[in-house]
């Protein structure tokens, strides 16, 4: 048991250390943005050196932890790596000046969905260390497909000329998102509300105990 815990410790330590390393400057950035809007405009302007370094660090941790999800055989370890990936994607949203979406990512994804997944692991396994082996042929076929997909996408991106506008931003005001949700996006908003209700009833129905 001690040995097994030790095995899990490595990815989780990497995850926590990576999050701390990347979260501290991002939090400083967003805190500075709240203090003085002019400062935030300067910091969030695309092209500053700080922005570039932050992006490379966060992107590296995101991709490495996504690869960790691919490589790990154990579903608990996959969940820990996914925790790191989701957190770093949230930090990418902060770097893209989408602060509200970043906050929602942390609250709903990292705080809600991931906990749900871990509960799923807990409820569906005789031991959380159970392994399901995949055939090596399947592994290599999937590897070829995914590397091919990634390189094709990168080729396409490098040849595309996007009509990029680099506009200065102070980050999105939550008010704007609220107004947009209740005017332009009212119908999808209500549809999402109905969907969540149906999901709640459906999940309760699916997971309930059958009376015999």
């Amino acid at each position: 048991m001690v040995l097994r815990l030790h095995k899990l410790t490595i990815p989780s330590l990497v995850a926590v250390a990576g999050l701390l390393l990347t979260a501290a400057p991002a939090l400083a950035l967003s805190a500075g943005g709240e203090a003085s809007p002019t400062e935030a405009t300067k910091v969030a302007a695309p092209g500053s050196l700080f922005d570039a370094i932050m992006f490379y660090v966060v992107a590296l941790v995101t991709v490495v932890s996504a690869l960790g999800v691919c490589i790990s055989k154990n579903v608990v370890r996959m969940a820990v790596w996914l925790f790191c990936t989701l957190g770093c994607v949230g930090l990418l949203y902060f770097l893209l000046a989408a602060t509200f979406v970043g906050a929602i990512q942390f609250i709903v994804y990292v705080g809600g969905t991931l906990v749900l997944l871990i509960f799923g692991v807990m409820l569906t396994s005789k031991s959380p260390w159970a392994r399901y082996e995949t055939h090596p042929v399947e592994l290599s076929a999937a590897l070829v497909v995914c590397v091919g997909l990634f390189s094709t996408l990168c080729l396409v991106f490098s040849s595309m000329r996007w009509p990029v506008v680099q506009w200065e931003t102070e980050g999105t005001a939550v008010r704007d998102i609220g107004v947009a949700l209740l005017t332009r996006y009212l119908v999808p908003f209500e549809a999402a509300a109905v969907l969540l209700f149906i999901v709640m009833v459906g999940a309760a129905h699916l997971a309930r105990q059958e009376k015999k």
Binding site: A66, V69, A98, C146, V165
Partner: protein
């Protein structure tokens, strides 16, 4: 190189998408496949926010699309975990290869 543009974020999104597809196609644990789906959804969400930041000027279309992606991902995870629990009740395993009762 030092100017972070749209392409940088798209490459991160592509990496997440490839990893997600790899996880979905190689893991046999149903919860593992769900984790792959989450990765794919996140790659789409990163692309939405990046396009919103770099291509669209005043609308919030990309960010709101991402909010809906997050809502749908939460709903999908709830239903999928309930299905996995049911699968485990019936088969005492979440190996997707064993869930072949409808195959005839």
């Amino acid at each position: 190189m030092l100017t972070i543009g749209l392409t940088h974020y798209l490459v991160v999104g592509a990496a997440l998408l490839s990893c997600g597809i790899y996880v979905m196609s190689t893991k046999r644990n149903a919860i593992g496949i769900l984790i792959g789906v989450e990765l794919v959804l996140n790659s789409a969400a990163v692309n939405f926010v990046a396009f919103d930041r770099f291509l669209v000027q005043t609308t919030l279309d990309g960010q709101i699309a991402t909010l809906f992606v997050i809502v749908l991902a939460a709903a999908e995870a709830a239903i999928a975990v309930a299905i996995c629990v049911n699968l485990y009740k019936n088969l005492t395993s979440v190996d997707v290869d064993q869930a072949s009762r409808l195959q005839g």
